[in-house]
Point group: C2
């Protein structure tokens, strides 16, 4: 397996067509179960055309994962929330991020990367850098500045960002990854975000407040 050199290489329309089809088949069936025949058929081209653009199954797989991760990363370049209060920013960021995590697309990418990271060691790193790493970095920056403004008490911003994401994912993400829960009710989603924000603020508040509620309902 060799990684594609150009990050935003301009590919021929046919190549894009093949990539789109390959993404569908690979992410739906997994690497092992996906066949080049199925990909060619889904793309509406012959296998020879697929091989004219990609060296083989491995290269094609790497290409679709890299492209998916790049798109993933593009979605994570939103605004920081600016000058809003910490709780609002956390709620907004938490809702956005958990929503992205629970998307069928994101879950499919995660499953495939986890499954094949043993055989394609580069994949795990590509995924981590393009996804979790960016989220952690942005969150860490926000928490650090909030701490500088005295809005939070944070000794280790990286660890604090890690903690917020850990609180956020919780049982919901694991169940979705394992295919146990098909869909998430808006109620359960909001309750998870609210509970994560609430618990995080109780742990990292600048001055302990005894009146703060612990309830997850909004």
């Amino acid at each position: 397996m060799q990684t594609v050199a150009d990050p935003a290489a301009q590919r021929s329309p046919k190549a894009e067509q093949v990539l789109d089809a390959a993404a569908g088949v690979f992410l739906e069936q997994g690497f092992g179960a996906a066949s080049m025949d199925a990909i060619a058929q889904a793309a509406g081209v012959s296998k020879a055309t697929v091989y004219a653009h990609f060296a083989g199954k491995d290269a094609l797989f790497a290409a679709i994962i890299e492209r998916a991760c790049a798109r993933h990363a593009a979605l994570l370049a939103g605004s920081d929330g600016g000058d809003a209060d910490v709780e609002s920013v956390l709620r907004s960021v938490g809702s956005d991020f958990l929503g992205l995590l629970l998307t069928p697309q994101t879950l499919a990418i995660f499953r495939v990367v986890v499954a094949e990271s043993a055989r394609f060691p580069a994949l795990g790193r590509i995924f981590f850098e393009s996804g979790p790493r960016r989220v952690l970095g942005r969150l860490e920056g926000f928490l650090r500045s909030a701490a500088d403004r005295g809005q939070l008490r944070v000794d280790d911003p990286h660890r604090a960002a890690e903690h917020f994401l850990g609180l956020l994912k919780g049982e919901l993400h694991l169940k979705m990854v394992l295919g146990i829960a098909e869909e998430v009710s808006a109620q359960a989603f909001d309750a998870t975000v609210e509970a994560a924000v609430s618990t995080f603020l109780r742990a990292y508040a600048p001055q302990p407040s005894t009146t703060e509620t612990q309830s997850a309902s909004r």
Copy 2:
């Protein structure tokens, strides 16, 4: 794929021999890449013998996952810590659980189950019930009793247990799952456990203490 009826069925020695070999091959190579030839060779028997004990590749795979989950579950039946102080129990439980999570065996099972849960819907549930579910249940019970004794302030014990495990897994577990970090230093391990316990106690302490430290070092 059909699930094995007997939970603790007594199998012939040859069957156990095949199961052991199959576990090694499946967990190392994944379902798709593992071949029945490789399993038979690893077990030191012929393929016909494998098929004499298991209906096919699917049934064999299901059997090894179920056995692995059952063994997994057996490891989680430890003591509750009894009357020790909350912080000590959390540190002990957290250390044990994170240690189990980061075991090569546990990681391999998790990867394979995640990878194949789409094609074998029962696997995800079997894994969740035998692993995370038990941990959450035990932890939830402990937190509830600690709250009853006034040692913690917990409105929703299930959510609190979820939060502790989320804090515990953090970046470390994800990196290991993705194959980024080969081994974990004892220092990083302890720091993660300590940070999780510290943050959890700050969020769920019965009475906010302003003097408590946030540092993750011990």
